[in-house]
């Protein structure tokens, strides 16, 4: 049987900063984020972002971690043994072979977002391929309040993918297409992805075009996520990370509903978790050295 479903798709890539000589640094630390869909590695040198990689998670967590790590190290002249401390995070965090410690993705995300968006970020929404998290943190990036939803496909990349499938459009185009409509339709009323799909099929039969259906689902999804962060209470400033952060169809509608713009950063929001893990790794290494 062929693999039918491709999950929320990510581009795979690696990057490192040519201007930094890692060997001149004192502490090299790394964060490995093995998510259910994609895995990232971030390497920082004395607290500065030095290198990162992102790739799809394979069927085996340890292998995914190893692959993402070697990819991050590629062409840097660094070896894995040069790294002083590694923290694993994400859904597969306990299966990261090179990690000295595992820390939840919630804590890592908050810490990473604090680095990426600065100390003024208080609310972080992470919308992944298979889950959705809302986190509130203080000015140091310490979590004060969080909630997560990984049970239900509604409000995750997966839910959007079901719709992209149904309408036969590419997942990357969903956001833009959802704005190519002559009016903003009412949101799809069922939250459940399965029932929403039935509802959408009915709308198509009534003569709605694809874009209109996408608009209706995008605003349903935005509303879904809105409800989730409302539970937590949104305190500005606010940032969005994860795969859906790239879907303007959901993001803009969510910003409208919140009456607030999401912060932006030149760092790809997808590495927030791994970055936070690398920052934890640095702090933990310093603590360990002090003890000695």
């Amino acid at each position: 049987m062929p693999q039918k479903k491709e999950f929320w798709r990510w581009k795979e890539y690696n990057w490192h900063d040519e201007d930094i000589d890692p060997h001149a640094g004192e502490i090299i630390s790394a964060g490995v984020d093995v998510g259910s869909v994609s895995s990232q590695v971030v390497i920082i040198v004395d607290g500065k972002l030095y290198a990162f990689s992102s790739m799809r998670t394979g069927s085996d967590s340890p292998d995914s971690a190893r692959n993402a790590m070697s990819w991050a190290l590629e062409n840097t002249g660094l070896e894995i043994d040069d790294i002083n401390f590694v923290v694993g995070t994400g859904y597969g965090r306990v299966n990261v072979p090179m990690a000295h410690k595992a820390i939840t993705e919630i804590a890592c995300h908050a810490r990473g977002a604090n680095f990426m968006y600065g100390p003024k970020v208080r609310t972080i929404l992470d919308m992944g391929g298979q889950d959705c998290k809302a986190i509130r943190c203080d000015h140091r990036g310490k979590v004060t309040n969080f909630l997560m939803n990984d049970k239900c496909a509604a409000g995750t990349g997966r839910g959007m993918e079901v719709f992209a499938d149904l309408l036969q459009v590419s997942i990357e185009d969903v956001g833009e297409l959802s704005f190519k409509v002559d009016h903003e339709p009412d949101p799809v009323s069922s939250t459940c992805v399965v029932f929403a799909k039935t509802e959408a099929a009915g709308l198509l039969r009534q003569g709605w075009n694809k874009n209109l259906v996408l608009a209706a689902y995008s605003s349903a999804m935005a509303h879904r996520v809105f409800t989730l962060i409302e539970r937590l209470g949104v305190e500005p400033e606010f940032a969005i990370t994860g795969g859906i952060a790239k879907n303007i169809g959901v993001v803009h509608r969510l910003e409208d509903e919140l009456g607030m713009k999401a912060l932006s950063s030149d760092i790809d929001s997808q590495i927030a978790g791994a970055l936070g893990a690398a920052l934890f790794a640095k702090a933990l290494y310093e603590k360990k050295m002090k003890k000695k």
């Binding site: 310490k142 969080f146 997560m148 539970r231 934890f280």
Partner: protein, 93 residues
């Protein structure tokens, strides 16, 4: 930290919230034994404080696991909330 474990699905919102700052000073961790299905465990969190959390295997089905404690009519006080004297635990449904 207020940790919310559970989920939201088409049928509603099912979160158990734990105010972990209250766990740090708690002397008895009564929740662990009070819950008939053993959902609670005390573990160090990411900031190395010993706090209560809901075990991973229960997080996606709290609505079902808690059902016996939550009859539709004449709901008694929940064992977990009763046992938690510092008042750290809350249920959203």
């Amino acid at each position: 930290m207020i940790a919310n474990y559970g989920y939201m699905d088409g049928s509603g919102e099912y979160y158990i919230s734990i105010d972990t700052d209250k766990c740090i000073d708690c002397s008895h961790h009564g929740c662990v034994d009070a819950c008939p299905v053993g959902m609670f465990i005390i573990e160090p969190d990411d900031y190395d404080d010993d706090v209560a959390l809901i075990k991973q295997e229960f997080r996606k089905k709290v609505k079902y696991e808690c059902a016996p404690c939550k009859p539709v009519s004449n709901r008694p006080p929940l064992p977990c909330i009763k046992a938690c004297t510092p008042g750290a635990i809350g249920h959203s449904w």
